[in-house]
Amino acid sequence: MPTTMIQDMDDLVRAAINEVFDTMLNLKLEAEPPGTELLNGEAHIASSVGFIGRLTGIVYIYSTASFARTITATLIGLEESDIDGEEMVNDAMGEVANMIVGNVKSRLSDRGMPCVLTIPSIVRGSHFTIEAVSSTERRVVSFKCLKANQQIVIEILIKLEKSNN
């Protein structure tokens, strides 16, 4: 896979998450130094949406469970105490992932790399990691939300379809 393509994906995801957080949540994110990963310990949630096409992969968006509740409450205009169970948080975080990856998909399509998106899915737990198989490129970009003093980590697993060009 060309290095520029990998760098492009990082940039596209960075731009997409910033746009989604700024537009929908009025939250500014600051990129953290490369290599920063989500600290295990506190329960966290990973929402993911995959993309399938010439470029195939999956994007995971990690946050702590408490930040996910804050995001959900802000998105739908409720108090955190009014959030009724995990289903509402799952739906909101799935939608956030859908918007981020949908944004990336649009940019990829405009660059001649059309793809389709998978439905969002959610993983919850603590002390878990998602590992890539050897043929997959794994990228991690991490952000700090200063206003909420919380962290968002994006993990991108990508596999470039073999082609003649």
Binding site: T23, I76, M99, N103, D110, P114
Partner: protein, 381 residues
């Protein structure tokens, strides 16, 4: 009941965001989680607009739209497509489907309100109750002027009201303010650089949130061109500098249909008392005239048959007062109300100079007026 907005989206989050966005408007938001449900609700409820997600299980947005457009009863309903995918091909495909508009996620609440507001008539919730507001209720007046002294002048001029003046120097700041808080009235300087005041007015009128808010232009008396342009564009009015604060307050009250009747009408000892203030002029006369018939009729309806017109605070009688007095007399006759006027000897003498008012008689106090109305001996003015 306001217009119906149907949101069709498999994401409950998006449906809640849309419901939240329109919470402050007089409309009903209906929800469906897929195309099949959406078509069923559309057939039953005949919404005024549909906000349709593109990617959904069971029946996606394309298929839903195709079915809507092929149904003679539903094909006229405007549709705004909502999609997380903004690629050129996707946008072209959406455009070909005959949608009214499309919106790419993520979206700001204001944007979806604006797009929907371009298609259907959205009115802020409570726009009807505003008409019932009283003059002494709290109001927010947004003043957009790059000269802070103007704001201060307005603040100083309305200290007798509980109104709040918010000053903003630039259009952008004013738009930001309106997106957070809806003012009751907006005053815009027409002399902002590069015609920014007029551009701001157009933006406010294009936005569903602010299109019903009364907007007045602020300018110097001699700037006739600016005043003409403001009137042609549809400003609610123009307030000229130097400002006459009573005129400004009267304009605000009229534009919001504020109830000012309590300032002039009250029931006292079984009599309706109509009192004119010392500041009597055209504005007060207009306000009293606006309420006169309704208040006199209300009094009759409530069982009163006597009304006292108190002009004792007035130092002189001019044509405005005489006209109002004649209206008062005529209405009292129509409604068979016994009436008496209180006035100073100066006003009484001035009234004798005119043919229409030479027979008016005045007493000096409320008690005297009440005594006369109750059939006791008349004390001539």
């Amino acid at each position: 009941m306001g217009p119906k907005i149907l949101t069709v989206d498999d994401s409950k989050t998006i449906r809640l965001i849309i419901a939240k966005a329109f919470k402050s408007f007089d409309c009903e938001v209906l929800e469906a989680s897929n195309g099949v449900e959406g078509l069923a609700i559309a057939s039953k409820e005949k919404p005024d607009i549909i906000i349709l997600d593109l990617t959904m299980p069971i029946m996606d947005g394309y298929e839903t739209l195709t079915k809507l457009k092929s149904d003679p009863e539903l094909k006229g309903i405007p549709v705004i497509m909502l999609t997380a995918e903004a690629g050129r091909e996707n946008v072209l495909r959406i455009a070909k489907q005959g949608v009214r508009d499309y919106l790419v996620k993520p979206f700001k609440e204001d944007v979806i309100i604006d797009r929907v507001g371009r298609v259907i008539d959205l009115k802020p919730k409570g726009s009807t109750p505003i008409k019932a507001k009283r003059f002494d209720d709290p109001l927010t007046i947004l003043v957009v002027d790059d000269k802070p002294a103007i704001c201060e002048q307005i603040r100083a001029g309305i200290t007798d009201t509980p109104w709040t003046v918010i000053g903003r120097a630039q259009s952008g700041e004013a738009v930001d303010f309106c997106s957070q808080t809806l003012p009751d009235v907006i005053l815009i300087s027409l002399s902002l650089p590069d015609g920014a005041g007029f551009t701001l007015f157009q933006m406010l009128r294009a936005s569903a949130k602010t299109k019903s808010v009364p907007v007045f232009g602020l300018c110097v008396k001699t700037t006739v061109d600016e005043q003409t342009r403001a009137q042609q564009m549809g400003f609610n009015g123009v307030v000229t500098k130097p400002m006459d604060m009573d005129d400004l307050k009267a304009k605000v009250a009229r534009s919001l249909s504020l109830d000012t009747s309590y300032k002039y009408f009250q029931q006292k000892n079984g009599v309706l008392l109509v009192t004119l203030p010392s500041t009597f002029g055209t504005n007060v006369a207009n306000e009293v005239t606006t309420h006169l018939r309704a208040k006199l009729s209300e009094a009759v309806d409530a069982g009163l048959d006597k009304v006292i017109f108190d002009l004792s605070a007035l130092k002189t009688a001019d044509i405005t007062l005489i006209k109002l007095g004649l209206d008062f007399m005529t209405l009292c006759d129509e409604l068979s109300l016994k009436q008496r006027m209180i006035g100073s000897s100066v006003v009484s003498q001035e009234c004798k100079k005119y043919e229409e008012t030479k027979d008016w008689s005045f007493v000096s106090t409320f008690n005297e007026a009440q005594a006369v109305l109750c059939g006791k001996e008349l004390i001539a003015a």
